[in-house]
């Protein structure tokens, strides 16, 4: 099974590579459109600025490639946000797979800290991504922007506002949290994606 990771100017890609290696998978890190299109599964990771990431993807024609993927795709963190319609970060038009706009967290109390860094409880539904994952479980997040609840939401979290922890539509799956840093739970979610 060939697992490709989209190589672009987003940080933290190697932690995903490490996580896959722990599952005994040697991923292909590439920005080659043909190799991405041929892979059995594609992981679209990310950490950093959505505007800069989209500019890079457009410049390298990866935006069209990602939109046309037909195999299972997993977007992680900024990867999830880029699969939405628009992001408040840098007023950026994104890839538009998910018909929802990414918003910035606005603290309501002194205790509300942005970026939100840490383990948050999520509530999962019966999506195949959560096979062997409890309904209530904690995963590790690092983010200042969030995807509101929408028709594609398959897991919810609640920090300052209720929001989408995971999305699913057609062949596209996403996590706002970092499964590669979320202990055994994250490993199970990655394993479930790989088993699709």
């Amino acid at each position: 099974m060939e697992i490709a990771i989209v190589k672009y100017n987003a940080g933290n890609i190697y932690s995903v590579v490490n996580a896959l290696r722990r599952l005994e998978i040697e991923p292909l890190l590439t920005d080659n459109p043909d190799l991405l299109a041929q892979a059995d599964k594609v992981i679209f990771p990310g950490q950093g600025n959505a505007g800069e990431a989209m500019a890079y993807l457009r410049k390298h024609h990866l935006d069209q490639v990602i939109r046309e993927l037909r195999q299972p795709v997993l977007g992680i963190c900024v990867g999830q946000q880029l699969l939405c319609r628009h992001s408040e970060e840098g007023d950026t038009d994104c890839l538009g797979i998910f018909d929802v706009d990414v918003k910035r967290f606005h603290p309501k109390r002194h205790e509300d800290k942005v970026p939100a860094v840490g383990w948050q409880e999520i509530r999962t539904n019966d999506n195949v991504l959560f096979k062997h994952v409890p309904e209530h479980v904690y995963t590790y997040f690092v983010h200042s922007y969030y995807v509101p609840l929408c028709a594609s939401t398959i897991a919810e979290a609640d920090y300052i506002v209720p929001y989408s922890a995971c999305l699913h539509k057609d062949n596209y799956y996403t996590c706002q949290f970092h499964p590669e840093k979320s202990g055994k739970t994250g490993e199970q979610i990655l394993q479930n994606f790989l088993s699709l």
Partner: protein, 255 residues
């Protein structure tokens, strides 16, 4: 749903690639190996790990960086590394090796702009600013070089400054409480939480499970760091998590 959980963070001191303290684990083959010990803590339910390089030599730095790579490839929870980070190139080296966050201490006091530089290049979430302080007759003073050298900086002024410069978290060690096991510096911690809007990691004073409850309630800390109570097995992380849940504290249950 309960928002962001309070974190329990074991701290491992590393010298020449081996953990210092850790006699509780002598019966394990991985006793001295920080990667093996980190894995044990991760499996036990630690939320994050801190590895501090206490080696002074250049050769030791190389060994530490190699260890960071091994931690990154082995462990599936976030980890912070600190010790001997003096400039941006040190940060770059450790993040490239796979660390999620870096912790700076003396270098920040000596060159505060380093905080701005780190957060500019890598984002505030990677930058943990460690502060060692103790109360003297004229208020809380920050100390340099592992507590060996006093500065004229006031703890609370410095905390506000590092937050303004963009640090993502403050790791505050009360030197008076450290190693005494009578509880954390809850009064100073609560004041810190009130005056800055970034997470505070409390360090120094953990002896009993009640101390962890108190640091999250009275001390308003976001995370609690400890070394010897975990290394010597005096407190086991699954028991601690269970206790804190019973006390109504939002922690991630041990899976």
């Amino acid at each position: 749903m309960k928002g962001i959980a309070k974190r329990i963070i074991p701290c491992l001191d590393v010298k020449n690639g081996e953990t210092v303290k850790g006699t509780h684990f002598v019966n394990l083959r991985s006793a001295g190996d920080p990667v093996g010990l980190g894995q044990l803590y991760s499996n036990a339910g630690a939320d994050e790990l801190v590895f501090l390089d206490i080696t002074a030599s250049v050769e030791g730095r190389k060994t530490f960086t190699e260890m960071v790579s091994r931690v990154a490839s082995t462990i599936n929870i976030p980890f912070t590394v600190g010790g001997g980070i003096n400039e941006l190139s040190d940060v770059d080296r450790l993040l490239n090796a796979g660390a999620d966050k870096i912790s700076i201490n003396s270098a920040a006091l000596l060159h505060p702009m380093l905080i701005d530089e780190i957060t500019h290049y890598y984002g505030s979430q990677v930058c943990v600013c460690a502060i060692d302080a103790r109360p003297d007759i004229d208020g809380w003073h920050c100390y340099l070089k592992g507590g060996r050298e006093r500065t004229e900086r006031n703890l609370f002024d410095w905390a506000k400054e590092v937050a303004d410069r963009g640090a993502g978290e403050i790791l505050f060690t009360s030197m008076e409480h450290d190693g005494v096991k009578h509880g954390f510096a809850n009064e100073a911690l609560a004041h810190l939480a009130d005056i800055v809007d970034i997470p505070i990691i409390a360090s120094g004073g953990a002896g009993k499970m009640e101390h962890f409850r108190d640091v999250f309630t009275l001390g308003k800390a976001d995370a609690a760091l400890a070394a010897s109570v975990f290394h010597f097995g005096e407190i086991k992380i699954p028991d601690l998590k269970q206790y804190l849940l019973q006390e109504g504290i939002n922690v991630r249950p041990t899976v």
